[in-house]
Symmetry: D4
């Protein structure tokens, strides 16, 4: 904006023109694909580019948006998550160098950034795997190193206690659990590393698609546990990567 | 019933009379106090007498029912729970030998039975104290020895792990917790002693008066956890005492 | 741990080594299958081994875990529950001697233990059958004798009253009901045998997948009724078997 | 309307005038008290006059409406329900002949109608008393004979079974219960008399102010159970009286 | 029972034998089909026989129970409701004289009783048709004459007002509505005929499968509205037929 | 009605006949198609004709009702919404001139009215498209000009701020959003144009099929936001068209 | 902004200065009172000034904000709603000319605007009075004429039908109802005037503080009904006044 | 533990003794005050000491625990939150140097740590003040610098946009909002600083004590928003301080 105003001051840009540019011109931060209008300024505002949410989109739409996003940024890969099975072959064909993670149902087009800081993704049971995989994939693609600790449900405490050194060496934890969602409370009592809890829809009966785990995590007696939406590995990965990167940025 | 039928067979009881007796006569198992009709046969049917639920009753009603129940049984004390503060002085005056437990808001009139078997009542936090006290009081009055383990929230695992020998020596556990209700899952992973979980209404915000803890306990990943109503120390105490007594009854 | 410490005291085990072993060595109690990490110490801690929950697992995963669990224990069969229809033929082929219960959708690999104590499984209606079958199968496999009382809904009281002798002869009851879930209250008024209630998702409209029955059971006016998750025949069977075994263990 | 049209046909009433009368004239069926507009035609349309719902009204408002309603009908008393404690003395003073029922918190001004048919009000526990009293008071004031069966909770079945003859002799049953709300299912299995179930807010924890009982009654396995709002003794009384009166009306 | 006791008095039945018979003998009121145990005494106790609920049963099970029920009663047809499409052809083949109602998904085997009294079934919209059809079918099969008023939603009041004479001529109304469930309030303000409201699962978004209509009906401002479970045309039909029959029984 | 009464006054219509006509005669406003009874007077009463709700109707029913509605009005097209995919080809064939909107799953038979006033439909994301399309289609068919602003989620504020001139030029706004439903609050803070918010079922986990967005909109801190049912583009379109038409009607 | 940019172009304002002014200078639209920061630009953006929400504010805070708002605008009065009883005397003293509405618990400081267009506020029962009063007060203060129709519950349809001419003469309706919330559906079927429904928390039992009415209104079968938050007379009044003013603005 | 094991190896500690010490000896990490057992090792495990939750505790209990905690740590103050009004005077008297924050209802005994990193606490409205104050107080006491941005509701976007520089200069944001909870989505779209959202119970009607805001935050369309329990300023403060401290720790 400052540049534009200097042009106005210098007379090289007319006032009318400046008004228009500020409101809707090339700085509008919108890339219109017809069926979608991308927020091309998100990277500038938040440091992280927009990501394609694949659910409910046609393969053609996913490919088009991914291609556009890949053009917009050179420092970060273009990402898509929650991809339907059927999209994966087409993606591999269109972007042969893309990194495809089947467990996470996610893809990255373009080279991954050099990792800064470490995110540790902890999962209570095997059924929580896909959500943990999404969190891990996204945290890595958003610029953090990632470690994994799996299958450490609270009914066998020795498994999670044994993992304490790995937990302690991370800059941010993502703890994924379904059913009664008790794992974040136990982990949060073992370490002071910032901890993001992710409830999953794993369970049956009165688990209500993850509500039991969600409520447990919101009410955790371990101080400093924060929570994402049910099955939201994506959000946890974004948040944790931001914390991890920040913990290792170069001193000013 | 058999005795009555033999009298019928012997002709000493008329058929009409027998029909009436079977339907509503002295075997009706009801003691009518005007404002309440006691189930005097409950002890015969279930081995445990009826108990006064004090909430919403006037002091006079509580005293009248307690007196009637005390008359009905000599082997077990007459109990009242959920007593309003205001009833306690009157109770002490009317039944000077009564055992009054202020934490549990409960009273026993008549000598306690010789304990058989052990119930261990475990509580996550100090705020869970009243519910734990009610469970302990009732389990003792229903005939079990009682041990206590307090303040062993899952955010400090060493506290509950240290209590493992006490847990193992019990015949039945009552595990009381509010907030995220994770303690039964952790205890249920440490020992195979039958475990009754009691959610409490301790918490705020999205704990919803104990719903978060209740759902967590119903969804526990530790196998064999069973659950009582929110704040229902009474029911847990009754159930645990029955299990404990049964574990130590004389061989037939 | 004591053994290890004695080795340390004797100098046969170095301090560093002991620290490592305590944390993550052969005592870690974890068997890593790649896609799952089994809690091999659960039997030691709780007296009952881990069980495979079949829902959401591939047939290959179920077979692999079952095989591993069968190797871990000789005194107890390896169990799997909630098996998808499609897994059963493969299971019969791989484990020809396995006990397969189609109603319960469960399987046991290895000989059943000699039963100790009796669990009686009571079901309100025919639709509650699968949950009752799961409870019965698990209770038997966890070491109890099992009796069944079926189709005794409260709208025909004579059916449940007629079953009173069978109920009384058990060491623990599992009472399974959907819809309004009233059966545990009625049974709990007829007998003092410890009673585990299991709500089922049987019903429609305002039954909300078992919520109506669950709430009814949590609020039972019969003292000492405890409750499992909706459709959780497994948990009820585990719990009831533990109570029944305990009621008949040899005197110390 | 027919009379008015005949006047129009006869020319004794102008067309304009008839239009106005039909829309808002003396046939409008509204009595405007300033703070309330009574539905004076309700008796004509439904056979039963409007009733004052006392909650949230000032004593002066209750008295004014009662007085107006008493003027409107000679064959039926004017009723008020849900009266605050503080209104009762003023009511007794203003209407010395009024029938005041303290348990029901209700009042009738004017003579009760000759009863036709019988309503039996059944209550599970003493705490359900006020709702049962309201149902009984209203059923009597709406023209039915009323019988009562109290304290017949399902945990002591002999009490309700003993009452079967009284139940059978009624033309409509009102069954009042809180907690798990199982009583209507049991009663509905014992008799085919039309049965209206009323859940009460009696209970704690997961009873949710009567929701547990409401859901149980809606899901009753006894066919033909219908349900009122929680604590709605008034509605049950009105409905049951209508059924009972109809069962004994003179043949045409 | 009286007959049996007279035999005991006469010595023609031994006491032991009588005890056994009373508990579980031929009077037990149970017909055991292996996969189901019918309540054969329901007709004696309630005046109406048991009915087959078809959902979740195999065609063979439906046929077997229907056949058994048809044998048990000559005065009333054997009924089955909620029949899956696939069962109907088999039913027609096995019971060629059966009355099959495709809209109601119900069937009656055996002649319908002579109707006594009239039930009027009112439906708000075309989508409420199946539930209204079930109510009408059941009310007729349980012994009442049935009239129908369809498509009288409250957004076009003239339609329901025009139907007032039909409503008034009935002995009991069944009012079926989904969405906002307002129709029972409007009808209940037009007439004093006993009114049973049935919410349906018709609607979308915040109708929550009939919850919006259910709550509206429970909170109706028209006095004397009683409510069935969502989509429960069966229960409404049973109840309404009982009320209608009673309104026209012969004077004693 | 006045005409009829004048005929009565003139003696050309008998009183009995007039009574019948007023109750159910040709003025009854009902067109009976056998399977449905149309409210033919709705246009007279409300200015807008009835519309076919396609969900759950057979193609034949949709065609029949559409044809009937098209006959009833010449000034407005006959509309059908929520059409199943399968109905569209048949519709095109039967009504070749019909306007078919595939995104909105809606159709208009007959010429659209000349637009009066402007409705602006604003959508937060691409997934909200179908609901926005339905609102836009209906608003146009109900007589308003329609503008669209798409893909202006609150996480990229510049997009919605840039659209302010378009928003300001409308007579009524329809703001469609899923997930957290924040867009109406932001738009409602930018302009005072009447704003109807429509929550959509877009989202996952704790969005509960649109509940999160619905609650957010009901609790909007921007004054004057009103809300429709979840996914109810139809209702929003009707309402907004009425407001827009009214804002531009000719002065009296 | 244009003026500022012209100054920049003219060199009379430095670039740095312009940047600062645009971000936080005198155009910031914020008036900071220490305990609150008023949105002084709301009138410019939306045409309507900010209003004081009294609940939870001290009398001093209410007075200070009211005074500040009164200074900001001369064309519109400063408003406060949801005022605690205790604030009213102090308000009358400080602003002797203020318009105080006790039923609405609201106040206006400064002359009311000349009314443009008409809002009709319709209430189902006397208990809905305070919400209706708030809606009426706010609609008048926001510039519309207001008419009232009270006590027209759907159980007495003649009352609401009689009011049809008043409804038709309005530019926007506000329909207020508690309990089953059926009134908007009935009114919305009688007229096509834009209709805003306001559910109230009037009711008991399963009305859940207005949820029953809220759901009913969201699911109204009358097309074009929009809904406000429970008891939100304020929002309905703001919205309705905007619609009414717009319907009568001078032609451009 | 290593030290102890070396003693064992050296023979200076007996094996039995070591076992006992490891299980429950001086390393047990528990300080028993009779009415509470403090987790004295929490600081060692997590870097942050335990905090007194004041709600439901007597003033004496608060003072005793605060005193004990103050003794345990010299580097960090002892904290208490959610203090009842009545406790504050006693606290000031006992700990004259304590830092008391009345808005936050919190107190710190002992010097605050030198701040490392910055937490910015953002609040939507004045009513959100107490929760924001608690978050700010705790973040400062847990070692972070704190900045505040108040009263920046989304209905006046210019207020939050103007604060962007302050937001950007923080290491972690805490965004507090009630009602529709939209602020975190807007802030999360403006900046990539890690953002913790705290829903408050501010609102009425369908805000359900903060549920509307909680759901909105969980479903935020801005990536990387994490959420705390309703009104949980404490948890947000702890978490944010940990992130901020970590972002500025000395390089290794």
């Amino acid at each position: 904006m400052e540049a534009l105003l200097q042009d106005v001051a210098a007379g090289s840009v007319a006032v009318d023109d400046a008004v228009h540019r500020l409101a809707s011109g090339p700085m509008s931060g919108i890339s219109d694909l017809g069926f979608a209008r991308l927020d091309t300024h998100r990277g500038l505002r938040t440091g992280d580019p927009e990501v394609v949410y694949g659910e409910g989109k046609t393969p053609e739409q996913v490919l088009a948006i991914l291609g556009e996003l890949a053009n917009l940024s050179s420092s970060r890969p273009a990402l898509a998550t929650r991809l339907p099975e059927a999209v994966l072959p087409l993606l591999r064909e269109t972007f042969p160098d893309a990194l495809v993670d089947e467990a996470a149902r996610a893809v990255a087009v373009g080279p991954l950034p050099v990792p800064v800081g470490t995110v540790c993704v902890v999962a209570a049971g095997t059924s929580d795997g896909p959500v943990a995989a999404e969190a891990a994939f996204v945290a890595r693609a958003f610029g953090a190193e990632v470690t994994r600790v799996d299958d450490v449900g609270v009914a066998g405490l020795h498994r999670v206690v044994a993992a304490r050194p790995v937990l302690e060496s991370a800059d941010c934890l993502v703890v994924v659990a379904g059913m009664e969602g008790a794992l974040p409370s136990v982990v949060g009592g073992l370490t002071g590393v910032p901890l993001v809890a992710v409830p999953t829809s794993v369970g049956y009966g009165a688990s209500y698609g993850g509500v039991a785990a969600l409520l447990a995590m919101l009410n955790s007696c371990a101080p400093g546990v924060v929570v994402c939406n049910i099955d939201n590995g994506f959000g946890a990965g974004v948040f944790a990567a931001r914390v991890a990167r920040r913990a290792h940025r170069a001193a000013p």
